[in-house]
Amino acid sequence: MTFVLTNLVPGDPATANLGEQASSDPAAVAEYRRQHGLDQPLPIQYARYLEDLARGDLGQSQQSHQPVLTDLRAAVPATMELAALAILLSLLVGVASGVVSALHRNRLGDHVLRVLSLLFVSMPTFWLALVAFYVFFDQLGWAAGSGRLDPGVTAPANVTGLYTVDAVLAGQWFTFWNAVSHLILPALVLTAHTVGLLTRFTRSAVLEVLSQDYVRSARAKGLPERTVLVHYVLRGALVPVITVAGLAFGALLSGTVLVESIFAWPGLGGYAFRSATTFDLPAVMGVGLVIGTIYLFVNLAVDVLYGVIDPRARVQ
């Protein structure tokens, strides 16, 4: 799939990578194509690609001149650190404000939250990233600059690749706080869209559940309102919220492409952006494969959670 898509893109990796002078020399182009196997018919290229893939070889990046796998090993944890923090923040804030919004239906708090969530959902992430970077770093100086650490701060010993976790494992608290300060702004920018999404969906899910007979029955049993809310209403609203959270995670990953480029975050999104603009096909295919796998696992996790939450979804 990723192979077909990347090869369908009109554009020639040879001309993109050789530089202006070399690409006007037919001999150099032919040599480049031969080296990278691009002179072979597509089915053969594909067979070679699969053969390499089976050995765990994703090819060599034409930009970094390193195996794509090595590049990805460095990029994936950087993105996961960012995306995990962003989805966590989104869930905390989005679900809470969705519940508050539903409980205050058509009152002031609800209106404010609805306008805010609409604003967050519709703001383009790249624009928000630029504005946030300009305001909080350039003007106010509140946020740390680009990258994962300040220049001069060395990365902690690689265990998980997540700098915050690795720093804690190594007991380097200064590095930990530095990594956190670098994480916050891009994570908040990524959070904006998903928070808006989760607020809106949680609100409608809770309103839906509040009108259910089983909530009225719970009240008829004389249970305190807090018990009704936590055990009956939230439990019932969880399935749609989890579904949206899974989708939101996908949206969040695609948001990293631009956010990482703007914040010079050495992650998957920035890597995808660079390799796509330079026709670095092995790298693009590698990214596609990784993103596809992440999607697969997120969906699997969502399905497993369905079974945990809703007994009717369990396989007998």
Partner: protein, 281 residues
Amino acid sequence: MTEANHAERTRPQRAEDQRDILDIVGLTVALPGRTGTGTTVLHGVDLRLKPGGIHGLAGESGSGKTMTGLAVMGLLPPGARARGRVLLDGEDLLSLSAHELGAVRGRVVSMVFQDPSTCLHPMLTIGHQLTDHLRHHLKIGRKEARGRAADLLGRVRIPSPAEALSRYPHEFSGGMRQRVAIAAALACEPKVVIADEPTTGLDVTIQAGVLRLLRGLCDELGLAILLVTHDLGVMSAIADEVSVLKHGRVVESGPRARVLTAPRHGYTRSLLEALPGRTAT
């Protein structure tokens, strides 16, 4: 109205000397309308319920039967206003605060709702839903509550009650779910149960079983039931007294045998005539 007043004076033979456990006097309920003036759905409803008695509340859809039940429970839709008095064992429920009402609801008066497939939470076990209010109201531990819940399930004839506690509503049939809902309503040994169309949607043989169960509980526990139903057949099977509601007003009220065999109001007669292939007993 004169007929209704007359009917009220006609005391049923059953439990003659006992005090009313539930006494609804002049209950008027207004729902908020779009125009702001609101719609009055109940106009001065009077109803009395004796310990151990079943009072049937009949009437067609929209006559205000369910609203009466919800008003007693304090579960009217948001914005609705209730006037009059709802005396439960001498205490006016309409004057209670939300907190005080919470202590009465499910404890002294409880409700069984119409549709057993929607009134149990699909994602919580039967045990959870049978014990949470038990534990809240009676301040007992989890183990004791589960023991009581198993007894209750046995009483409503759910097979292997102890195992049923850890199962979910979708694993039971409609009739069984209704029995579970009845068990939940009975858990804290209330004095009054409002049963809103408890047998609608169940097939006839199961209906009879649920009705027998309700009657048995009244006789055995001294429970009083306000039985809300549009089905006069159900009513004639178990009610001691019958009130007929039309457009939010009680048009006729009295002992079952009298109301169903010699109705005084034209509306009651038309309800009786609407029964397919049935003659009033």
